[in-house]
Symmetry: C2
Subunit: 116 residues, 2 copies
């Protein structure tokens, strides 16, 4: 397993939960205090903190404490890593479709020449 | 939790494992028999079958049995769902950056007018 693979493991695992996705969605609109992130989630604060820990471990977010307030920030580069992985697979798939289309076209052209 | 959210849960969970990602990568190049998918994974066949079950449950792949051979196919629409979710978040983030840039530019313009 490469380092990059371990990063993808943690990232996709972090995104496989609706509360954690809701936190990521919120942080895309800007940094937020933990208490603000917890409000719409209707769950106990320790559970929210666990979710935030998973997200920090996956590097999708980072946090900093000023006085008694912990503020969370999105790390957009991490989100881009996950997007690029999926995008690369789709590209391979699309190229395969293109090759199949070209093959079918070549067969048709051959057939058309024969009929002339 | 909406149905779409449950689908994303399963999809990201399925992608959070290097062997399952390797299977998806392989299937992007075309359908493959279970035995062919198992070869490069160096793990027991029952473990491979468990991974395939997780991938089928997430709708990232489907399989069909002809005689004694089970063949797996990629379901590109499912991969697109995961890509779109991430893409949407990135778009919100980018729009935020654009707004911040516009705000900074407006402040600078105001400052420049004052100095004239």
């Amino acid at each position: 397993m490469t380092n990059n693979s371990a990063i993808l493991d943690r990232m996709f695992h972090a995104l496989a939960d609706p509360s954690r996705r809701a936190i990521v969605q919120r942080l895309c609109r800007g940094p937020a205090a933990v208490s603000d992130l917890a409000k719409p989630l209707s769950m106990a604060l320790p559970t929210v903190l666990q979710h935030l820990q998973v997200l920090e471990h996956s590097r999708l977010i980072r946090s900093e404490k000023t006085g008694r307030v912990r503020t969370c920030h999105l790390e957009p580069a991490a989100l881009a890593t996950a997007e690029h992985w999926i995008g690369r697979q789709r590209m391979v798939w699309d190229q395969r479709l293109d090759r199949m289309e070209a093959y079918v076209k070549a067969l048709r052209d051959k057939e058309a020449k024969r009929e002339k």
